[in-house]
Amino acid sequence: MSLYDIIFYLFALLVLVSAFITVTSKNIVHSAFSLMFTLFGVAGIYVLLGADFLGVVQLLVYVGGILILMIFGVMMTNEITNVDIKTGTTQVVPAIIGVGLFAGALTSMMLRTGWNSQPSENMDTTTYAIGKLLLTEYVLIFELLGMLLLVALIGAASVARKEKE
């Protein structure tokens, strides 16, 4: 087992355990925090896969942005004075059966498939190459996504604002 492998297993464990806590925790705040660890772990896996830029983006956007947003959502939708910020679960049994079967089937599929694996060398840094791709090959999608973000921003603001009586 190389150091690389050990680091991978550590991160994989971190991701899966914290995700499990996120999914099952009764306390919504705990869920949010463990989600943070999950995202952090995923960023680590990105780095292991040679995607350093993407890992940084994952940390910035998910951990710095989306997660904060979620916590704000939690705060605003549960009365703060009501300390009990717990939520129940529903239809656990069919979910466990279904999801278990699903996960099993998928995993077996992944394991059984003979992948034509051609690992490429890790680059020193991917930022330059990704930037070039974004502004040449994917420029249209890039621009469209810019538009989409703007629209989403305005849309979110207009959906969430208080209507004037």
Binding site: L54, M70, Q91, G155
Partner: protein, 102 residues
């Protein structure tokens, strides 16, 4: 055991399944959203893994980047909707909001 493509794929599969589990079982809309985020992350892991092992260059990473952007937009909109639902129904429990039935 040498870490290969399959390892990453198994991790992403399990992560994805837990996302689905969260969506199906949790009552709180925000937790459902968290499940969705987990699923998106699982998909992203796949993209990046194939980008490294599939011989496609950096395209997989770029697409993963796009997914992150989409996820950000989606999260913003979804939280706005959740706030709106909260205003309308005074709770965010997905199982109690069954207006779709009518």
């Amino acid at each position: 055991m040498q870490v290969e493509l399959t390892h990453f794929l198994v991790v992403s599969t399990l992560l994805f399944s837990m996302g689905v589990f969260a969506i199906v079982t949790r009552k709180n809309a925000i937790l459902v959203l968290m499940g969705i985020e987990l699923m998106l992350n699982a998909a992203n892991i796949n993209f990046v893994a194939f980008s490294k092992f599939g011989g496609f260059g950096l395209s997989g990473q770029v697409i993963a980047l796009f997914v992150i952007i989409l996820a950000a937009a989606e999260a913003a909109i979804a939280l706005a909707i959740v706030l709106n639902i909260y205003k309308t129904f005074s709770n965010v429990n997905v199982d109690e909001i069954n207006n779709l039935k009518e």
